[in-house]
Amino acid sequence: MATRTKRYYGNQLQELLYPSATTDAKFDIQTAMAAVGQATASYVKINILQNKAFTRTVSGNWVAEYEGEVKWDEDRLRYFSDLPVSVISLPKDQGVYLVHYAGKPEEAFIPTSIGFLSSRRNNMSQRLEGKTGYVLVEDRLVYLQEMNTDCKLLMYLIPNHSDLDEDDYFPIDDSAITDIMKMAVELYQLQKGIPQDLQNDNISQ
């Protein structure tokens, strides 16, 4: 079981806000985990992208690795892959950080935008120099060309907290934990008015 889980960070926040809270407190662990998730999304979107606006690079321990597979959609006549988790909404769809065939890390797929094929119809860049292009549509990657359905994919994603289980790995860079906790505290500032529930008597205070 991964140590850096949503529950782990939720517990940290709870400890920070209400060191003596019991399991039946109003600011329960579910709320704490949601707060950390939302704060993380905001941090990545605002801080990371602002600091590295030029390269738009999201680095550090924000990215989680998942396996995926390519499927053929009979109705829409196209190849696609389902994302194992939903991703944070970032400029240029950077929530999907990197995707490639498991055995070919040197040939990363190229993200494009919806409408790429029609907008570049008469442009020689449309073929993407023979590379594999995809578009992020809802919670799936739709490919622009024929794909090999036998090969496994590796996906590097910046996951949205709401799709993760409590004990799933939830990547947060160590250097940012303090800031994220601070943001989570600010997000739930109003909750501070709630008195600490010191008695575990199934009555929320």
Binding site: K52, S59, K92, D93, I110, T112, N123, L128, G130, G133
Partner: protein, 245 residues
Amino acid sequence: MITLDSVIEDLQAELGSNTQHDYEHLLTLMVRGLEDLHYDVNGYMKRKEIEPDSMGTVQLPDDFVKEVKIGVVTAGGGLVFLGRNQNIFKGLDNCGNISSPQQNNLAYGIGTASSSSVNHYQNGEIIGAYYGVGGRSTAGEFRMNRAENRIELSSNLTSSVVVLDYIARPEQVNGKFHVHEFLREPLMRYAMWKSQRWFVGTQAAHQLEKSYVNAKNWARVRFGGMSQTELLDIIRRNFSQTPKF
């Protein structure tokens, strides 16, 4: 030759980017930059043999940008170039097909190949020629009709095949652009300039442009460079060694 893909990777490394989210944008810019450099720096001439249709027109190739020369092959295997004549007329009939114009006596000028040969050939021998007529290519003439994307040829064309020398668009080999090593730096500067010019202020944008123009000029110098042997060859072209006894 290197691939355009590798130039993009170089630029991504320079920018510190390790994902592919800028790839498509950079590729579009670099293709544009490649065209610019192709026309100004290292563009090569492409040669194509084309057979005119029955109405004396030739469709321009898909990758055609600008004609350099249009000619026909002589019996000796050399090329004779056609003269440009913007007065050649090829009309359309009711069905939209190219039709030969109806010739009349006014339009049939003096000094054409057919009239001169008839007038100066008697009793099996050539007895002279018009004086002061001609001065242009006798192999035929052409008109560039860009609106219809074709070359229109005069009716006195002396060959069944036309040779077209033209500047072509940069082409892909197996779906990839291959570029000369000398173009790596100007291409990177071009993409930097074009991608950043709206975001960095006028002064910085001007510097980026200058950086591209400098790189382009260096590439031009590199392409135009000559070896010592080539230079000596040019200098010594009209000289021969003195006989030694």
